[in-house]
């Protein structure tokens, strides 16, 4: 039973925090401020603890499986959650349902942990739902806002729809192979037309979560309507975790169907990059803008994933680590501005640099990183994705990917331009940034710069992969 504690330590810790929160909530009387500090402390503990007692092994008859890479992935998610808890401090402090929000978020996080570790389709499905349903509730946490509930509605209905499709696919694959275990399945898989359909069904469900075109349509609406904390959780943590498990399933379970999914990945990756970029071009709302940009980013993740190699795995994990920093920084800045002024439009950012140089630089760094411009880490992340994707010497594919970087640069620069170049008499006033927020932003900025330059981080990930 010792295994249980070491192998499932992340899950257990998160569960423990959920229950602590539950008790704190029931035993009333703690101020939001203090509570937030406690939560941040707990999350920090959780993160730190994540780096110890890393063992490889499986539990529950292979239903649960973990290894160093998976632990690392979990740590990335932990880090993201910790950053979220710090970045949106202002909002949390004002929210009367803060503990509940964290309980939901941590439940979702737990779901993601289990999802990454899952060794069969049942646990995968359950944890996927665990990672989705609370998030839908989180999306609705701006209770006074119409768009928040609209977004929540869209999310819960779409994800129910997609899980219906996922289930249908699982049911058929179960029928075909007679197993739901990831480890037993590859030996039983044969590429028959029905299998292709089944695969497409499963693929679509993953694609839905990752917002791959044409299954991405819910993304922007939900991101825009949700509170910043939920949006960033969705776009970073949720996406990251699904990418991890998606990759694991593709590489392990669907290895016999490599030819099929490589082509499918290529097709959808190109579509995703193009559509994501085209839509991002004309957005005014910063959230929606980041939503489409994150769709385009997923296109790049697919490029790396399509390589079907350990370097691809490493590149994807690495990219998601970087993406966590960059995207959270962008959301953090946007949130800090929105909380004080309510302004969420890119045009509102005109002349921001005159009044808020710090926020401007962080935003710029984040956007440069997203655009993949050196020396930010995003450059390395994207480059390694493309490099691993290029290992098949598919010039067409990587050329499209590389050209899409230009389009994406265009719209990232649009924001930079608004911030730095446009003169504006009614620029946003000086923003008071919560100290923890500021610290978290600095952390993100540091991450954006150093994760790339310090090559040992990548080496470490590569050694795990």
């Amino acid at each position: 039973m010792n295994d249980l504690f070491t192998l499932m330590k992340s899950e257990l810790l998160v569960t423990a925090i959920i229950f602590i929160l539950l008790f704190l909530k029931i035993g009333k009387g703690i101020q939001n401020d203090k509570l937030l500090t406690i939560i941040q402390f707990l999350l920090l503990l959780n993160l730190v603890f994540g780096f110890f007692f890393n063992e490889e092994g499986s539990l529950f008859g292979g239903m649960f499986y973990t290894n160093a890479l998976i632990v690392f992935q979990k740590n990335v998610l932990n880090l993201g959650v910790l950053l979220i808890s710090m970045l949106f401090a202002n909002w949390f402090k004002k929210s009367e349902h803060m503990p509940e929000f964290f309980m939901l978020m941590l439940s979702a996080l737990l779901g993601m942990f289990l999802m990454i570790s899952s060794g069969n389709f049942l646990l995968f499905y359950l944890s996927l739902e665990l990672a989705t349903i609370p998030v839908a509730a989180m999306v609705n946490f701006d209770l006074e806002k119409r768009i928040s509930s609209e977004a929540a509605m869209k999310m819960i209905l779409s994800s129910a729809f997609s899980s219906g499709i996922l289930l249908f696919g699982i049911s058929l694959i179960y029928g075909i192979t007679g197993t739901i275990s990831f480890t037993e399945m590859p030996a039983l898989l044969h590429q028959s037309p029905l299998m292709i359909i089944v695969f497409v069904f499963l693929f679509a469900a993953f694609a839905f979560k990752l917002s791959i075109v044409p299954f991405h349509l819910w993304t922007a609406d939900v991101y825009e309507g949700a509170p910043f904390a939920a949006t960033s959780f969705l776009s970073v943590i949720s996406k990251g975790s699904v990418a991890f498990i998606f990759m694991a399933t593709l590489y392990k379970v669907f290895q016999p169907m490599l030819g099929l999914w490589y082509n499918m990945m290529m097709l959808l990756s190109i579509a995703t990059m193009i559509i994501g970029n085209l839509f991002a071009l004309r957005q005014q709302s910063i959230k929606r803008f980041l939503a489409f940009s994150s769709i385009a980013q997923v296109g790049f993740i697919l490029v790396g994933m399509s390589s079907n190699s350990t370097s691809g795995t490493a590149a994807v994990v690495y990219f998601i680590l970087i993406y966590t920093f960059s995207n959270l920084a962008a959301f953090g800045v946007a949130a800090a501005i929105a909380y004080q002024t309510g302004k969420e439009k890119i045009d509102d950012y005109k002349g921001l640099y005159q009044t808020n140089p710090f926020l401007s630089w962080v935003m710029a760094l984040a956007l440069f990183s997203l655009a993949g411009i050196p020396p930010t880490a995003g450059f390395f992340g994207k480059l390694f994705l493309i490099t691993s994707g290029a290992s098949k010497a598919n010039y067409f594919f990587i050329t499209i990917a590389a050209l899409n970087m230009i389009v994406s640069l265009y719209y990232y620069l649009k924001v930079v331009r608004a911030i730095f170049m446009d003169k504006n008499e009614q620029a946003i006033e000086k923003i008071n940034i919560h100290p923890t927020t500021k610290f978290a932003l600095l952390l993100c900025a540091a991450g954006v710069i150093f994760v790339g330059i310090f090559s040992w981080i990548y080496d470490y990930i590569q050694s795990l992969a």
């Binding site: 569960t15 959920i18 539990l59 529950f60 008859g61 292979g62 239903m63 649960f64 349902h97 509940e100 309980m103 939901l104 439940s107 979702a108 737990l110 779901g111 289990l114 049942l122 646990l123 359950l126 944890s127 739902e129 665990l130 349903i133 609370p134 839908a136 509730a137 989180m138 609705n140 946490f141 209770l143 006074e144 806002k145 119409r146 929540a152 029928g175 075909i176 007679g178 028959s192 037309p193 029905l194 359909i197």
Partner: protein, 176 residues
């Protein structure tokens, strides 16, 4: 043709007909009732397949739980007697076409596919067997999913409470 077969066809047609009605009737209560019928029909199919436990769960959770929930929500959100708004014709046609295509594609491939099975050592789906497995932590146990579902239910509960118990309505409610 024996009794079992006749029962199957009856159940099947009952289920499908009520399902179709549930998604087409324009009176929402009727739709809910047809849904109920469908769910009962599905439960009947489970009985027919001798999966009694599942059939029981189906009836308890779906018929007793979810349908009731749905009917409550209909009460909360709907004036009695209102007809459901009609979707655009083009959308309906398109949806019908897409659904049919999907159906056709799947059935085509399902019928072309030969399923191989392993019917040698059947494990009867008795309540005792199910119970043993449900809380087992060994190779074939389902303790972990069980716990996961419990956390999920807890989270759903928390979520529902917060969302449904909101205090301050937005200013511009019911603007239109």
């Amino acid at each position: 043709m024996n009794g079992s077969t006749i029962i199957f066809y009856l159940l099947a047609s009952f289920t499908l007909v009520s399902a179709v009605l549930a998604v087409t009737t324009r009176q929402i209560f009727r739709a809910a009732i047809f849904l109920l019928f469908t769910l009962i029909g599905v439960a009947g199919l489970y009985f027919w397949m001798q999966y009694d436990f599942i059939a029981a769960v189906q009836i308890v959770v779906y018929v007793g739980g979810i349908t009731v929930l749905i009917i409550f929500s209909i009460f909360l959100t709907q004036q009695a007697g209102d007809l459901l708004p009609k979707q655009k014709m083009s959308r309906q046609l398109f949806a019908a076409l897409a659904s049919f295509c999907g159906f056709a594609l799947i059935m085509l491939q399902v019928y072309q596919h030969t399923f191989i099975g392993n019917a040698t050592q059947a494990l009867p789906p008795t309540v005792a067997n199910i119970g043993n497995k449900m809380l087992g932590v060994d190779d074939d146990g389902y303790a972990l999913p069980f716990e996961v579902v419990s956390i999920l239910l807890l989270a759903a509960l928390v979520g529902c409470i917060v969302i449904a118990m909101r205090s301050k309505p937005e200013e511009n409610i019911i603007k239109q």
